[in-house]
Amino acid sequence: MRHLLSTADLSHRDALAILDTAEQMAAVGEREVKKLPALRGRTVVNLFFEDSTRTRISFEAAAKRLSADVINFSAKGSSVSKGESLKDTAQTLAAMGADAVVIRHGSSGAPARLASSGWIDAAVLNAGDGTHEHPTQALLDAFTMRRHWARLHGTESTGTDLAGMKVLIAGDVLHSRVARSDLWLLRTLGAEVTLVAPPTLLPFGVGSWPCTVSYDLDDALAARPDAVMMLRVQGERMDSAFFPSVREYSRRWGLDDVRLDRLDTLGLKDTIIMHPGPMNRGLEISARAADSPRSTVLDQVRNGVSVRMASLYLLLSGENSTDRTAQEQKR
């Protein structure tokens, strides 16, 4: 693993390595001194072309807990017309000696360009690109699900996957990088995935995806999922005729109080409710659902730091950096 760009190209072995390492990192987070010297002297750049305070501070906390030096580079306005190009930014960071670049970009594929262009030799971590992928979000989701699934089965989570778990993901799949990353990773880990959305918010071509697709949230809940992930829906989608109104969306595709209670009626006492945040309370998820004991929203945030520590650690040290040195010597 040289970069972390997508969960689609993450093998089962690599995914488990990240999740297992994240378990060890989580233990560090519970100590009084939440810090390891693993990346001392290494430089991690948070290159954010799009605002995302939550993801940025999670990566920042992760890098700092590993003793790396962190540079936050907020570079809004990426296109040639607006000023500095991706190439110039990348070469600037390379000249500063960045060892890893955590990139958030509004354009799908920008991290892949950074990694393949030859402009910079650093490890590239995709912190969300356009409507393509958000692999560390998927890893923290999988980490959260794995702990839950292992607990239900009375085992340690380390070394296990999600075989047999049924996951329902509902919302704006079309514009969601989280849905894509989740789907590929959850399939790799053996879970079954159902996507629920209005037909307008599913991508053309979704029929070839390895999942079940439904337009009906109630039917999908009746299929007894073990985890229900609600995706953020942006109100401005309404203006593009993706759905008639926020209220209609909420009635048909929101996890409202009625549906929350139905989980109990259906006897789904162990089904968890997840959300990648930030939530639109009262739109895709009711306040009661968000705050219910089923909700893992805050666990997801906490676990985010652990999986990001694991990702940085595996990319910048350990066997991977040995591979890299070997590659460089070959060049």
């Binding site: 296109s79 920008a110 360009r113 393949s116 690109d129 894509r180 991508p203 053309f204 071509g205």
Partner: protein, 442 residues
Amino acid sequence: MSTTGTYLIRGAAVLGAEPADIRIENGVITAVAPGLPVPGDAQLIEAEGLIALPGMVDLHTHLREPGREDAETVETGTRAAALGGFTAVHAMANSMPVADTAGVVEQVLSLGERAGWVDVRPVGAVTVGLAGEKLAELGAMADSRARVRVFSDDGKCVWDPVLMRRALEYVKAFDGVIAQHAQEPRLTEGAQMNEGEVSAVLGLAGWPAVAEESIIARDVLLARHTGSRLHVCHVSTAGSVEILRWAKELGIRVTAEVTPHHLLLTDELVRTYDPVYKVNPPLRTAADVQAVRLGLADGTIDIVGTDHAPHPSEHKEGEWAGAAMGMTGLETALSVVQHAMIDTGLMDWAGFARVTSRTPALIGQLPDQGRPIAAGEPANVILVNPTASRRVDPSKMATKGRNSPFAGLDLPGGVEAVFYAGHPTVLNGRLNTPHPAASKEF
């Protein structure tokens, strides 16, 4: 016309048939027969194993001048054209300023004459500034020294159905043709690539086939209603081929073009996020590639047009969404068409001459281009080595654009020589000299 000398091409297979000698004197083919004597003053061109074809005619070239001379000039673009086997190109109207007045089209014509590598035929804009609101002075461009007959807002669709109808009707006054860039604008807002399985995974906004097909369907119906001539630029989808087939069966006066890249490449390449594969209309699926190949073979699609669209490197190396659309094509067109159509058995070299020379010359109304290789005809002739092979290297091209999607591919076919109005602009696969009639100064 100034003296261009006497040439004897020995042993070239005319349109791929039996070898014959071709004598060219002062811009005219004066004899085509086996075993011609070599006139004393003639330059002998050995062409054993080579195929003689009429000079290629591109109905769809972006020469970028005036305005974007950093991307291409008429001089560099026509050098590329000559090397690619062309003797005429149509310069698209989306220059800066837009070619929407007699003044601009005459300027482009003059630049082409000054360069002297190929005939440069300016295309006039349909609407003022390509804005799609008001007809440009089509008659003034038609009557100008540039004698414009092809009008196009290429890059933008003439979307307004009333404006499109009026344009189709109006150009009947001088037997013009409207070349439509078929793209429904609302269905393609922010579109980045073909809408399909690949766009779904990559998270890039889709450019659905229906956005092309719905405009073509509307336009062929308008052409039927008005009895006008319609040309459809860069057809890219299987559905478009079906609509065109239907329209032609009804006798509607429509012609259509396909680009070399749509004959070979698919949207799978976009998985690299390399903007060299970004083009409009976008690369489609393998099924679409097969459909446009079959359409070209059976005549549903009439011609190959390169849509040569050079861009400076800074517009082609960043993130996908910020990159410009377009690919170079002049210097690879022959090889790609040979690879996709001839080496696959879908078409012979006579068919190649039909789709790259004869029919585009008819659509563009170029009387000296696309003619048979026969005594008395204008000497626009190229010699092609069909057994040559080369690895495409954009850094070695004459175009300023380095944005070739074929970079690194091994492709067949080589242009050995080009006679443009009797003068060899290309010899031994290299640029020779421009036509002596070219005036390097105004």
